[in-house]
């Protein structure tokens, strides 16, 4: 038995698998994996966030473009209104009827060269 123990000592009391050396390796791998996972998660989250942000910004651009188009349309309408208010016929009517003005007669027109 004793002989057997001596002969098969390693079998009777086997050394723990990997030992202290292997255990430290395992921690390194675990750390590495953890870092990778964290990085992967961060990248993934950033990617998703950036996609959302992009869509959001695009929506904002669309909204601003719409506002610009509306403003341009408004400007066009105002120009049109200004043109209709500046018609000579309207101005003459207001000048004559509301302001009591009259067209100058020939004697009132003085030509200065």
């Amino acid at each position: 038995m004793a002989q057997a123990r001596a002969d098969y000592g390693k079998v009777a009391a086997p050394r723990a698998f990997g030992g202290a050396e292997l255990a430290s390796h395992r921690i390194d791998i675990f750390k590495y994996l953890m870092i990778c996972m964290i990085l992967f998660t961060i990248v993934s989250v950033f990617h998703v966030w950036s996609r959302f942000r992009l869509v959001e910004l695009n929506l904002q651009i669309t909204e601003v473009s719409r506002q610009l188009k509306d403003a341009e349309q408004e400007q066009k309408c105002l120009k049109l209104e200004a043109a209709s208010l500046k018609t000579p016929a309207r101005i003459e009517t207001i000048a004559k009827n509301e302001l009591g003005m009259a067209l100058p007669n020939e004697l009132q027109v003085i030509h200065v060269k």
Binding site: L54, V55, L57, N58, L59, I61, T62, S65, Q73, K76, C77, K79, L80, E81, A83, S84, K86, T87, P88, A89, E92, E106, L107, Q108, V109, I110, H111, V112, K113
Partner: protein
């Protein structure tokens, strides 16, 4: 036991491995099927779901006058439509919309009940109405932006500008003639949309660009057009006429500055008017010119060298028999020079000159003046007028004084412009420039010479003769403009009765055509009054309108008189109490500044009108600053004017 456990573990490993392996193969297979085999089809399907086609309707270009004032402009307005199949509560929707749209509820309900997927409710809604309806978010009610054409000047230049239909394609005038230029091309854009159907801008891919319509800048001037329309309307109304036409053209270039028709129409609501009211009669209608035509007969005879201005003709005391017909003069004369034939508008004298010139030569000259052919003006539906090919009997005599031929107003003015500018027939035109949507010039139209018709010497002789018409004793004295030399010719033509096909005893066309200033012509103006009542002479019904148009246009264009005016401005004569300056102070006030030589008068306290009168009298040029009463001046009163110092007067409004 141990072996059995190991075996079971191995089987489990194999089973799970196989399961995952199969699953992996399935995923790979499915991915292959979707990504490779079904790729094209699925991409199309996906695009359909998240891509949105947006039609890019180009904005129709503007029509502007020569100063850039818009005469026609397009804006987008919301049109309201319904999808009846999506509307569940027809009665409720109709009840809500009816009062806002001003449509009877039953009518609206009937529209909403139609068995259609689309129907228009109201097109081109005012913005506030559209917003009110949009805010209600009614199911089955939608909006689509549509382009609407507006004419801000309403009736001004309506016949020239024309109008568009709902499409919006041009239907008349410049809108029709330049439709291809103004309209532009429709395009479309593919946009990507999110799950909520909102457009995502960044991935917009323009598949086909829409090309916006170009803007057209006319030669017309809004103010001159207004002057012409106003005076024409006044002339037509005062003579109780059926209608009238007026045209103002730049004599040297053929640019049309104003083209007026009366009665006119509002292009914003053209459907309310009859077709005859929509027609631009200045280019589309031809009429017998009457006496205005004598100018061309005499110009042709002078150019051919068969007559001289001083030649005398026997005008037969107003009655001249040719073959079986008798020609009459309204004002009988025995003997008249060629110049007087124009001045007194003698039919007999013109007929005799026509005989001397001969049928062939007269016909050729008249065609060279542009009669019997289109001028090529950029407006649709131009009439070519009519000159007979073969002349019989007394045709030569009647054509010589403007009977038996027809012409359009644009032909008449173009031909008179040829006399005004020294004998060159110019092509009349209305479009000066074409601009792209950013305002950059794309095309410019320059004056075009058609041909030389008469020599400058002949043109000058005819011009002098035409000046006598507005001088004392002439038939067109009412066309004389104070301070300017005016050359013109009156015309009173009988109209052909459409029923009897003979000359109507009562219907006339009174006209006046001329140019001003006669010594250096700038403007050729024609006024034509159709069927005036009472006195029908062109010199009575049309000449005053010519005068008013000429006077106002010359003032507007800052063309100063080159003749002494009849008026003698006297200090304070025409001014009221408030405008008269206070009594001048003693230091250096010059009682009569006209006698003061080159010494600066004391203007302090004077009104601007008084100052202007002094300036006109003295012929001095002073810079006027402000308005009201003169408070400060340079140089001071009594100092010499001239040298390097600027001469100015400052005004301040009186309390």
């Amino acid at each position: 036991m141990k072996d059995e456990r190991e075996k079971w573990a191995r089987i489990r490993i194999i089973m799970i491995g196989t399961f995952f392996g199969l699953m992996f193969l399935m995923v790979v297979g499915r991915a292959f099927y979707l990504q490779i085999l079904q790729h094209e089809e699925l991409v199309k399907k996906a695009e359909k779901q998240h891509q949105h086609r947006v039609d890019l309707t180009p904005a129709r270009g503007s029509i502007l006058d020569r100063n850039g004032t818009p005469l026609a402009e397009s804006i987008h307005m919301d049109s309201c439509y319904a999808e009846p199949k999506r509307i569940k509560d027809v009665a409720g929707t109709a009840a809500v919309l009816a009062p806002i749209l001003g449509i009877p509820r039953q009518e609206l309900a009937a529209k909403l009940s139609l068995n259609r997927s689309f129907t228009w409710i109201e097109r081109w809604l005012p913005p506030d109405t559209a917003i009110r309806i949009k805010n209600m978010k009614l199911p089955g009610i939608g909006f689509v932006p549509e382009s609407k054409r507006f004419y801000p000047n309403v009736e001004t230049a309506a016949h020239v500008v024309g109008f568009t239909g709902r499409d919006p394609n041009g239907l008349e005038g410049i809108e029709l003639k330049y439709d291809g230029t103004i309209l532009g091309n429709t395009g479309y854009m593919i946009t990507e949309r999110d799950a909520l159907g909102r457009n995502i801008a960044i991935k917009n891919t323009v598949i086909k660009d829409s090309s916006p319509g170009n803007s057209v800048v006319l030669t017309l001037d809004k103010t001159i057009q207004f002057i012409a329309e106003k005076e024409l309307a006044k002339a037509v109304t005062e003579s109780n006429a059926k209608g009238g036409m007026a045209l103002v053209m730049e004599s040297d270039t053929g640019k049309v500055l104003a083209m007026a028709n009366y009665p006119t129409f509002n292009p914003n609501a053209y459907s309310r008017y009859s077709l005859s009211q929509l027609r631009n009669r200045v280019v589309a209608d031809s009429f017998e010119p009457g006496s205005t035509f004598k100018v061309f007969t005499i110009a042709s005879a002078l150019e051919a060298g068969v007559v001289r201005p001083s030649d005398v003709y026997n005008c037969e005391n107003g009655n001249y028999r040719i073959a079986d017909r008798t020609i009459h003069d309204d004002h009988p004369h025995s003997r008249l020079t060629v110049s007087e034939i124009i001045k007194y508008s003698s039919n007999i004298g013109s007929a005799k000159i026509g005989f001397k010139l001969g049928e062939e030569r007269l016909s050729n000259y008249l065609r060279n003046f542009g009669f019997g052919g289109r001028t090529g003006i950029d407006l649709p539906g131009e009439s070519s007028g009519y000159i007979k090919r073969n002349w019989y009997g007394i045709d030569l005599a009647t054509i010589s004084f403007g009977q038996g031929v027809s012409l359009s107003a644009i032909q008449l003015v173009t031909a008179v412009s040829a006399i005004a500018n020294g004998g060159t027939l110019m092509k009349p035109y209305l479009v000066e420039r074409i601009l792209d949507d950013s305002g950059k010039e794309v095309q410019r139209f320059e004056p075009q010479i058609v041909r030389r018709v008469i020599s400058p010497e002949t043109a000058q002789k005819v011009s002098r003769m035409m000046e006598t018409v507005t001088g004392e004793g002439g038939t067109g004295t009412k066309a004389a403009v104070d301070g300017y030399r005016v050359a013109g010719k009156t015309g009173t033509a009988q109209k052909v009765d459409p029923v009897t096909h003979t000359y109507s005893p009562s219907k006339r066309i009174g006209s006046f055509v001329g140019f001003v200033p006669a010594d250096k012509p700038k403007l050729t103006i024609a006024v034509i009054i159709d069927e005036p009542q009472g006195i029908k002479y062109g010199g009575v019904v049309a000449a005053p309108a010519f005068k008013a148009i000429a006077q106002n246009t010359l003032a507007y264009l800052k063309i100063t008189p080159n003749m002494p005016t009849a008026k003698t401005p006297k200090k304070d004569e025409e001014t009221d109490e408030s405008e008269t300056g206070p009594e001048p102070d003693a230091d250096g006030y010059i009682e009569d500044p006209a006698n003061a030589g080159a010494v600066m008068p004391n203007f302090r306290g004077m009104s601007m009108r008084n100052v202007l009168q002094v300036m006109e009298k003295r012929g001095i040029n002073i810079r006027l600053i402000g308005s009201g009463k003169a408070i400060e001046q340079s140089p001071p009163p009594g100092h010499a004017i001239g040298g390097t110092g600027e001469v100015w007067i400052k005004f301040t409004p009186s309390a």
